[in-house]
Symmetry: C2
Subunit: 301 residues, 2 copies
């Protein structure tokens, strides 16, 4: 790594992203895969320029507790597939009805709604195939089952989908700040936190370290969503790859709408500081996690 | 069991169905579950009068190889949740666009398309939570991971969703019999066969018995779909709970359309005979599986 934190982070993220992209390309192959339309639709969104934040957090957490990035790679990829499926389904006309994401037409605009639903379903299902398939790697079977159990919990009724359901139910209604907090913690933070936990569990982390990583994850997860809300208000559409201001038009409840832009930025910064403070006892092994926490609030897309 | 095969089967199915319903009610609870709309939508379809064929096959396979029904119950329920999610998504306007199923309005007609997509997603995800959660039961962890791996494989790209994608892609087109066979084997038979295999794997079945159950499953699975096609042509709408003749209206390729009604019925009977012949060496423990095979072609809905 170079000396400047910003350069260090960029280099680190680029290397990791390339590693994840290569693994995903191998695990969800394009050529000669049948049925072609289904694979094409799934791969369209899987390789649409995602930041690979969840897999990178998963690998960084494994390394922070003494494991290796390679050992948790299928899990890291599974988390990205779960994230991608949730974006495909969230963009559907019956949900957020978004035509663009990351500067490209959304999945259903290209492949039709039916195939978009199926591509999402297939990515979600295949994530669990990859996870269970790790039974022949060196990982302890009980740890693997615990990781699968946590990922399914935090992606389902009581996690990501629960958050999205409350979000869907709240559109156009006046909601209280507690409800917005529920949405953010479940829709976004749950999968971010479980990405860290799964990586650490598979690397055999001790309970007190898992706890610290959980606190780190919950804090950066909430900060991440607040920054999303802020970028929606004042981000550059060219950088974001989609229209900004859409939350306001749709009267979607956002953090800045409740507390004002400045307070929202202050809160996000405070959450990141809190997150980083939970990593103290990890030493140098958690350096990437510290850099990643700062990236959460400094990103522009 | 009584003496008449028909009565025996009815009693057996009723008892098993009640057992599965009770377990599902406990595993996907309604009261005080949050978010309420999501649970309500998921439970609406989960308790819409399904035959519970896949869980019953899973339990019967476990018993056929010396295990117990209770030990595989969470897996049996997970299979029903996967089946239910696939029905919710298949009924969506962008897919089969069905307004009724089992005599009730389909999920999206009651809860809206967005919530129907999410309810399906949540049932699929929660199925894997239930499966992984079996790590604290007596089952061998390696067997459990193998079962999860197989279920995810047969529900995903290379199984049920693959079949549905080809089906969706084929609507309104002229397809060859091989394509229809692919659709039937993947869309329907794959989950039926893996229901049997998962139950047997969790009960510690030997490889040669797994093989026999796989052949049994592939045969009754294909027979099941052919009977579905036949019922769609000549079934009683009042018994079916949905309009019949819809496949013809939609120009959907069906087995009877390719070979004629009589040949289709003959084929289904042949498949069931073949399935039953694979159970010879199981003795009395496979009696329910023999009865179930006959039920596949004798059912009227």
């Amino acid at each position: 790594m170079n000396e400047q934190p910003h350069e260090q982070l960029k280099e680190y993220l680029d290397l990791r992203r390339a590693k994840v992209d290569e693994a995903l390309d191998r695990l969800v192959p394009g050529n000669d895969s049948y049925p072609p339309a289904l694979f094409e639709a799934a791969r369209y969104s899987l390789f649409a320029g995602g930041k690979r934040l969840r897999p990178i957090l998963c690998m960084a957490a494994a390394e922070a507790v003494g494991g290796t990035a390679d050992d948790v790679m299928p899990c890291a990829c599974a988390l990205e597939m779960i994230h991608t499926y949730s974006l495909i389904h969230d963009d559907l006309p019956a949900m957020d009805n978004d035509d663009f994401r990351r500067g490209k037409p959304t999945n259903h605009k290209v492949f039709g709604e039916g195939m978009a639903v199926l591509a999402g379903d297939a990515l979600l299902t295949d994530a669990f195939r990859l996870l269970a398939g790790m039974f022949s790697s060196g990982v302890r079977h009980e740890d693997l089952l615990r990781a699968i159990h946590e990922i399914a919990s935090k992606a389902g009724f009581f996690g990501m989908i629960g958050g999205q359901a409350v979000d869907l139910d709240s559109e156009g209604k006046t909601i209280v700040p507690e409800t917005l907090n529920y949405i953010h913690m479940h829709k976004t933070a749950a999968l971010i936190t479980v990405s860290l936990r799964a990586g650490a569990i598979l690397a055999g982390a001790q309970p007190y370290r898992l706890e610290a990583l959980t606190a780190y994850g919950d804090n950066i997860g909430l900060a991440f969503q607040i920054v999303d809300d802020i970028l929606n208000v004042k981000g550059d559409p060219a950088v974001m790859g989609k229209g900004t201001g859409s939350d306001g038009v749709r009267k979607k409840a956002t953090y800045p709408a409740f507390v004002g832009l400045e307070n929202a930025e202050q809160t996000a910064r405070g959450l990141v500081e809190e997150a980083v403070s939970r990593l103290e006892e990890f030493g140098d092994d958690a350096r990437p996690l510290r850099l990643l926490a700062r990236y959460i609030i400094e990103r522009d897309s």
